[in-house]
Symmetry: C2
Subunit: 335 residues, 2 copies
Amino acid sequence: VRLANFTQKLLELDFTNYKNDFLEYLEKNKYTQEPQNLYKPVNYILSIGGKRMRPILTLMSAELFNQSYENAIPAAMAVEVFHNFTLLHDDIMDDAPLRRGRPTVHEKWDVNTAILSGDVMMIYAYEFLRNYEPQLFSELMAVFNKTAIEVCEGQQMDVDFEDRNDVLIQDYLEMIKLKTSVLVACALKMGALVGGASKKDANAMYQFGLNLGLAFQLQDDYLDAFGNPETFGKQVGGDIIENKKTYLYIEGLKTANEDDRRALENWFLKENFDQDKKIREVKAIFERSGSKKAIQNEIEKYTNKAIEDLGNLDLSKDKKDQLKAFAYYLMKRKV
Amino acid sequence: VRLANFTQKLLELDFTNYKNDFLEYLEKNKYTQEPQNLYKPVNYILSIGGKRMRPILTLMSAELFNQSYENAIPAAMAVEVFHNFTLLHDDIMDDAPLRRGRPTVHEKWDVNTAILSGDVMMIYAYEFLRNYEPQLFSELMAVFNKTAIEVCEGQQMDVDFEDRNDVLIQDYLEMIKLKTSVLVACALKMGALVGGASKKDANAMYQFGLNLGLAFQLQDDYLDAFGNPETFGKQVGGDIIENKKTYLYIEGLKTANEDDRRALENWFLKENFDQDKKIREVKAIFERSGSKKAIQNEIEKYTNKAIEDLGNLDLSKDKKDQLKAFAYYLMKRKV
């Protein structure tokens, strides 16, 4: 019965309402004011899509503790606007030409525009939170601002890692926790707070999100190398081409045999190379060294940890199964 | 008697206590945490000085409505940290090598560092406001966030003006209002709110600050061209060298005779020139055209407007005279 109920939940997972209501609010809040050179890039980055996972999490979380999630839409918006602000600035730092298949803001406009439009987005994230009455606003700000600081710290760690050759798996996990997981956790906790959850439940949702976020980012790293090109949506092997020291690389260096280790290091030093050949050979090393298997184990480990966290929640079995189904859904995703 | 009291106030103006207490708090809140590459630039920009006018205004304003200004120190810090965040990002956009006579953050480190350290400073500005209980926090956030948005809009207008030849005096005044005055006004209003002022008084302080801020920025423009090199502290003529379209330039173009107008336009198109000669000749045009006189009149006008705003305040004559003295002090400043 337990499993049947869970399988049913997995089949029932449907984010259409959350997403549609969110997108409607986004559309309604388009920036039409002056100066247009400041606000056009904001509309652009917010309109070019993405999975909208973070705002969906906020709405889903709110609905678990309340019949309605409508009140949580401004909080969901704050999370999404903040997330997109970080994309604008991260893309400058990475000198990235594309985001979601479209030109990045600093490419379409220029670096100064991407800096300043990013800045005003960050401020607008707070503006959306100001929709809540003082006590709730204050509680939301506590988790939101702590998270925002951590995301900057995670980004700095990511930048620092580029010049380091001694990055350990635990350093990498700490970096992705700060850069990615805390915002997933924050999205869930903010939804819970708006939904009227107890402090204990809001914190349990945060903890669930932290582990879910780690599994999510590791799955991102995995799919970037081993995703199916037909379904992945992005270029498979992007991290490998850009010499990104992800979990697969760090673990690969540690566990590969001497020849493979040297080959891997050499591939990651080259400036000019045959892209297809590099992707093929590096992936083969990831497989042989066991780092592919290791990341799969980690993804499962953090998904299971997230599911264990559900034990701390004062929610019905039914609702917990919904969250569990969502965790499995993320782990099995192909995109 | 009235004048004697006011003159007395002018002589008594002393910001030493405000400044010392603020600097002590700043020192106590130095960033020692990791990652150091994120926080060292924050300590650097916050430590290289400046007049600290904005935090002093917050503390002075709080003290007008309360016996003590101690409670207002975190709010003063929020204003100063926000102001310095804007300097970090503005200096990237202007490609400025120096700030307060020291290398800018993007010069001493790099552009990416200046972006990210600036971002985290903005977030910390909010963190300092979180020291206040929810109701007051919410009121502070209302004025602070509105101001932060306007400052970005003002910066965008400033950027846009560089490529425009049709900027009117009223556009310029709107730009400096958004880029500079609103933060002066915000600093005063936040101090008033922390000091327990009524809504009416807090808004009157804001209005006073808005006019004071306009006078302040126009005085900045004036001193940049006509300041005494011995006392000014910065290079006199910096705006002229950088072809900045300040009040003096826009008004000069409008009121100069045909020959002077052409000469002024030519000077502002040249890439290579004798700096001393350019400064000398452009200043002569500003004098002949009457734009020097016009900016002096404007400074006096906005100072007087600010003083008129004091009429809306429920404060003792004594305290109003203190604010009036401060306004005169700013108008007569040489630095």
